[in-house]
Symmetry: C2
Subunit: 211 residues, 2 copies
Amino acid sequence: MNTPTLRKPRRRTAEKQTKAEISRERVLAAAARIFSDRGYAGTTMRAIADGANLQAGSLYYYYPSKELLIEAVLDMGIHGVSASVYSAIAGLPPSTTYADRIRAAISAHLKSILEFGDYALASRRVLGQVPVEVRRKHVVRRDAYGDFWVRLLESAHGAGELRSDVDLKLARTFILGALNSALEWYRPNGMPIDEVAAQFTALIADGIFRR
Amino acid sequence: MNTPTLRKPRRRTAEKQTKAEISRERVLAAAARIFSDRGYAGTTMRAIADGANLQAGSLYYYYPSKELLIEAVLDMGIHGVSASVYSAIAGLPPSTTYADRIRAAISAHLKSILEFGDYALASRRVLGQVPVEVRRKHVVRRDAYGDFWVRLLESAHGAGELRSDVDLKLARTFILGALNSALEWYRPNGMPIDEVAAQFTALIADGIFRR
DNA sequence: GTCTATATGGTGATAGAC
DNA sequence: GTCTATCACCATATAGAC
């Protein structure tokens, strides 16, 4: 508020964001939260504006339409999670077994979906309700991430580290389905994420039955 | 069509449904499909009417509001699935091990969510978008079904059939999360349900890694 | 950058004819 | 039972003041 009306465009730095960048992030965060809560059609631009402490008309300064706003939310979710997982795996020593790579991917995926919370939730819950063009583009990105998992499982299978009767594509949907369900029930003040990750990793690795 | 305008109310039989009952089911089925596709707010009464070959105004002869219509859809999903699973378990011989009861429950759950398709999908996708009162009631029912799973796992654990370090509540959400994800990708012309059930059962029981 | 005011169109629900 | 016509409301998006 009360910023001088005329000022030079600022150099972007890591620490100082312009007023516009701050507002833009507030808008995006509010959008992610409300979209994931009420669905695409159930979310009004007024509600998002309210969550970002703006009036409805002001949103259009940052995003020219509801469609481009949900697209930005979905992008953030998909890119955030996949980039986190890719970088976690890339950071492992070359000698890491595939079994350990899978364990690392499970943990990284779980942590990053919970970290990206509302953005990941929005991907999960509203992707099916979004205008077709937006959906088409994002399904491509989501599938690319799914392919990463299949390749990881294939490598492990080729190295003889998996049970030989496991269907790899089915295993991928099984694993991601189980992990992503944490978005629906995990609460930050509950069990620490690391413990959830350890339990889920054990379940995926060895199942529930005693041997 | 072309039914006489005056006729006595019919006795209900298993084979013959009245015209009203047939239309009512068509409306419910169309509602389940469209709600699960477009979300609660994204579904218009006009679209449902269209799917049921009616005009929008005619829906209100069967359901007095959109809210009561989604409630009927959610009821069908939750009751259908839980009743199927309960009866599958009740039909097992008393001597059945808990491990085998769990296997049977996995298979029954998977088969019935896919059988109830759109109704189960609607529960999964729109429960969070529905008016609070409707949601409140249905969360109670869903939780009751979740408790059944926890009790089943507790019994197995008490009998020493599970790995002792498994967190039972976490295992329940893990199992149901993985199974329910099948709703998002399973297609009737793909892998037979029995085979999916066998694979998922093996994954939940023993995990993916070779020992 | 953010506001207010408003245009244009779609939505749930009702009334009453047939 | 199903239709047509319609009401009252709320949505996205735009225009222009500040």
